[in-house]
Assembly symmetry: C2
Homo-oligomer: 359 residues x 2
């Protein structure tokens, strides 16, 4: 099933109509979703256990939180579950209600959108092409002061695929703690990173009460339709406050059951990491050798590429690819990016070969 991860619903229909390709024939390099699809174990166990919908979910989601706790190496009481990461982003931003939020960008547009919904103002701290879109930590630390209420970081970052390591993150958290700044770290893509323990901030949540880490199952576990996200924070007050305004049941019984299966599915997790590590290396090296393109070193399961050819735009690349049934992401709509940039995620080997051949 290859489908409308990024171009939700009507968008994909537009693409089908415009380029005369069928949805089922499209390989989606734009969705950043694990190309393995959902694990056979998950499919089998869920289908054998569908009668769980006859029971209300446990209001505390105890079994689910236990599974997350083992998987993410954190305490059960540090975990909040939510109807997708989008709900959690919204809940935390609404609760903190920052007058001034600093967002490291270019990045996912939803953070800015939510900040403005609460009446706050979002300021982008730009990552520069001159730095290959890597964070300049001194520049960031200089910008943080008591006027800022919240810092939002996507790590690894979408669409740059750059990643902040744990040592650097500690510096950021120290500066934010000193200035009473909440830090929201969206780790939607962190499980794809090679050596997660050197990058994920989960281990720091026990030392910093100002940090909230968000995780998703949509991308790594290939199930955006399940709407299962979770947050990790070592701040019990924050958890209590968000819980107080939450619905009695944030996620349904099937999402709760699915989580318990997937977080313990070591075989699927290992296979995914192995595949992505291999294909990331393959694609990065292939683009290093391609004339007229500059790939930025990817940490997540996707890569940002700059076009260095006159008269070739990201829309051209997009159109060439979609005509051959491959959907990539034209990045010209991201703040700070232009029609020189596109992004694609790593699919199965033969699909990646096909994409690179086409470019």
């Amino acid at each position: 099933m290859k489908n409308d991860y990024y171009f939700h619903g009507s968008d994909l229909e537009e693409i089908q109509a415009k380029y005369n390709v069928k949805a089922e024939d499209i390989t989606n390099f734009a969705a950043n979703v694990n190309p393995l699809g959902i694990s056979p174990k998950l499919r089998k166990e869920l289908s054998n256990n569908l009668d769980i919908i006859t029971s209300y979910p446990d209001r505390e989601y105890t079994n689910l939180k236990n599974a997350i706790s083992e998987y993410a190496s954190t305490n059960v009481e540090n975990i909040l579950v939510g109807n997708g990461t989008s709900e959690l982003i919204s809940s935390f931003i609404r609760y903190i209600s920052p007058k001034k939020a600093v967002i490291i960008g270019p990045t996912y547009s939803e953070y800015e959108h939510e900040v403005s919904k609460t009446g706050g103002k979002a300021y982008y701290l730009p990552l520069y092409e001159d730095d290959d879109f890597k964070l300049n930590i001194d520049y960031l630390l200089n910008k943080l002061d008591k006027s800022t209420d919240m810092l939002i970081v996507c790590n690894p970052n979408n669409p740059t695929s750059s990643c902040i390591d744990l040592v650097t993150m500690r510096h950021i958290l120290d500066a934010c703690k000193e200035n009473h700044i909440y830090v929201l770290i969206d780790e939607t893509y962190i499980e794809f990173v090679n050596a997660i323990e050197a990058y994920s901030a989960v281990s720091l949540s026990q030392f910093y009460s100002n940090v909230i880490i968000l995780r998703s199952t949509s991308k790594f576990f290939a199930c955006p339709g399940l709407r299962l996200g979770y947050a990790i924070t070592g701040n019990p007050d924050l958890i209590a406050q968000i819980n107080r305004t939450s619905k009695p049941w944030m996620i349904n019984s099937i999402a709760s059951e699915a989580g318990q299966i997937m977080f313990r599915d070591k075989d699927y997790i290992d296979k995914t990491i192995k595949l992505i590590n291999k294909e990331r290396d393959y694609c990065y090296n292939a683009f290093l050798e391609l004339d007229g393109f500059k790939p930025y070193k990817p940490f997540a399961n996707f890569m940002l590429v700059k076009i260095n050819k006159k008269n070739l735009t990201s829309n051209d690349v997009f159109e060439n690819a979609i005509k051959k049934g491959m959907l990539i992401r034209d990045c010209s709509t991201f703040p700070f990016l232009t029609s020189e940039y596109f992004r694609f995620c790593f699919m199965k080997h033969e699909e990646n070969v096909k994409l690179i051949d086409c470019i």
Copy 2:
């Protein structure tokens, strides 16, 4: 699967421990859930189609709303879907944010709870035992004036199982319209009513812009774990306002898919109505003949009973039943009710016979 519909999670564990009965041996007469369980067709089609979780739900839920529209005989644009009725109750009460809400009671406690969460005050308009808990329409109309912002009615009402017919509802809506009062009608149990067309307010939603009707799949379709509820209102502004504050995806792909199957599952719907009609008559007549108990005429899939025996309380009846593996609802905690009242829902025939024998 007989389980913790009413006594969520830990409560059922308490009951197991206190009365030394295993959860799987308990027949749940307290949950008001369709005793047929989920339909075999739903189970089969869902389990064959679990890969829908690899796709984001359609943001507009077009196919789901089409199915609801046919099922509930209303226009697609009048429909809102939500993560269970509890989310919709919360969303509408928050949006209307009534300073003064009138609730016809005794009823489900969640309405009052949500009103007080928004800072409003809830006033119960009591149903009287002298009227067999039927609504006194003149009394209600007398109480409604411009100081009221919202009227909340559960129809059929839980726990009385009484039901307001369409002619009476029209009088209520006229009075409310005149006084600028929003009316929230929770029709969670309406599909169990014999001759739904004479009781459901859906047909009135085209004439009254002040009415919101809530429907659930938890009880009639036996799937509280799915968290699939919907609202019907003929007021487009209200829909637009609620949509604006909603998450991008209110329910997950599986709930969306399940809805499309269940609302068209005529066989299951017919079987349920037939079973409940039969068992409602059977139980009501059996209690009419029982000495020392007064049943109130039930319209939904459950019945309220008054104990007219000295030295017998609802807790005694509860304890007698649970020791034999039957969980009923002691109604002493409902406002306006006392330890003379209990409620039970209609299960399969042999189970109902067993319950009546025990009482």
